[in-house]
């Protein structure tokens, strides 16, 4: 039952291979987390040796796709951290509502739960019709799922609780249609969303936004890569726009920190000027 353990040096070999073979650069991902994810896949797929695992990855592009899907983390939920979403409702959306058109980018959106959460908040703020939500992720499979807006019905009770705690007063179940074990979210929400693959490591800015959310993605990056991604966000954010991070992430030590001011206690920063 015991499979062998992969070592740090082996992961480095693997990541170098993948960069030269497929152009995906994972070399600046946090090493401990990467080691763990690679080990998990290696064990799951029962490779007899590291050499075989490495060979398969180099020579079998569909298996490389599986690698991307399994090694990147795709855990997410709707309205996670209710107090964060309450702040979005009370402090951020009223400001965004003053714009003629609202563009929001969910970077590293995984299967899209946060994008749907945001669409609900925008709907309730009466501004969804003039908003566009961009959801991007490195992993094409989760982007495809996000586009469908179909989530397990088993999650809905928890999401409904998050919704109420975040200040929601509607009936949460009015936003989806349940069918057996699946809940499909209203197509009027999906209509305001654009999903696509985007690699934060290598792809550049593609628009200007008033709000960028990137929650629990940067924790998987080493500090230099984090700094690079912060600059990408800075380049993609309008003046006076907002950047929202995960509950344990911070802009504090980043190269762009000087131009941003934190909004209250939540992990939301506002770009104050270009000086």
């Amino acid at each position: 039952m015991e499979t062998s353990s992969i070592r740090y040096e082996e992961v480095e070999l693997l990541l170098d291979d993948l960069f030269s073979r497929y152009g995906y650069d994972f070399t600046e991902y946090s090493k401990a987390s990467m080691l763990r994810r690679v080990q998990r896949l290696y064990t799951l797929d029962k490779f007899p040796s590291f050499a075989e695992f490495r060979y398969r990855l180099k020579t079998d592009p569909p298996y490389f796709r599986r690698f991307v899907e399994e090694v990147t983390v795709n855990v997410t939920e709707m309205l996670r951290d209710p107090s964060f979403h309450r702040t979005l409702r009370t402090a951020i959306l009223p400001v965004l509502a003053t714009y003629p058109f609202i563009r929001i980018w969910h970077a590293g959106c995984s299967t899209g739960e946060e994008v749907y959460s945001m669409a609900i908040l925008l709907r309730e703020a009466g501004v969804l019709h003039k908003s566009l939500l961009y959801g991007t992720d490195i992993n094409p499979q989760v982007v495809e799922k996000a586009r469908k807006g179909i989530f397990p019905v088993s999650q809905m009770q928890k999401y409904s609780e998050n919704y109420i705690q975040s200040g929601g007063v509607q009936d949460f179940s009015s936003y989806y249609t349940a069918n057996y074990h699946l809940a499909k979210f209203d197509s009027s929400l999906t209509a305001r969303m654009i999903f696509s693959t985007h690699n934060l490591v290598s792809d550049s800015s593609f628009n200007e936004f008033q709000l960028i959310l990137c929650r629990n993605t940067l924790i998987y990056f080493e500090q230099e890569l984090q700094a690079k991604v912060f600059r990408l966000f800075d380049n993609s954010l309008e003046n006076f726009g907002y950047l929202a991070l995960g509950s344990k992430e911070s802009l504090r030590f980043s190269p762009i920190a000087g131009r941003y001011r934190q909004v209250g206690k939540e992990k939301i920063w506002r770009k104050i000027n270009e000086a």
Binding site: S30, A32, R36, V73, V75, I219, Y220, E222, K248
Partner: protein, 189 residues
């Protein structure tokens, strides 16, 4: 050359009193970092930090991502994140799937600490109601670290330490009243 050392304490249901006793015994300014992986509910952490300070006089610091591990500092895993140790002796956080129904998972931290600290690591597994931590203990042992289990007969919830005793051969199985002194001796040896 003596290896750099680290103490990681894994506990679940019924482990808080033992953790308090061990931290009191280790005291402030220990010659190594200490990491506490405790299963608990989201939103409970600030209370826990206050409680630990009130009872032991030790200020426990919630792990921040990419923060370096400092000697003499006691770290607590934040609720709902796994904590990993990087080769440069800094922490990183991970929000991937629960392991053994747990996030933070003791297995995850034990394993990743063993990769970096090897024989300099002591892993202590305490009272609890699930099987988290056992596989990590095995891994710590493979990497030359010291594994210590609270004697299940003296644990408030014996399931977790019992699992360790059944599935592997921990280096030390110690009753609750002996644990604090033993850990203190190892820390200051």
């Amino acid at each position: 050359m003596k290896p750099e050392r680290l103490l990681v304490i894994g506990g679940s249901a019924g482990s808080l009193q033992v953790i308090l006793a061990v931290l009191s015994a280790v005291g402030r300014g220990s010659p190594m970092p200490v990491l506490v992986v405790l299963h608990r509910n989201v939103g409970f952490e600030s209370t826990l930090e206050h409680l630990i300070f009130a009872r032991t006089g030790i200020s426990i610091k919630e792990v921040e991502e990419k923060e370096p591990l400092y000697k003499g500092t006691v770290y607590l895993c934040p609720a709902d994140y796994h904590v990993l140790v990087e080769a440069d002796r800094s922490f990183s956080l991970d929000y991937s799937e629960r392991v053994n129904f747990s996030r933070p998972s003791i297995d995850v931290s034990f394993r990743s600490a063993a990769d970096v600290y090897g024989p300099g690591l002591m892993a202590l597994l305490l009272s609890g109601g699930n099987a988290d931590g056992v596989e990590g203990m095995q891994y710590v042992q493979e990497r030359g670290g010291v594994t210590v289990v609270q004697d299940p007969a003296t644990a408030e919830v014996p399931y977790m330490p019992q699992h360790a005793v059944t599935r592997m051969s921990p280096d030390h199985i110690l009753p609750t009243d002996v644990l604090p002194g033993f850990i203190r001796n190892w820390v200051y040896m």
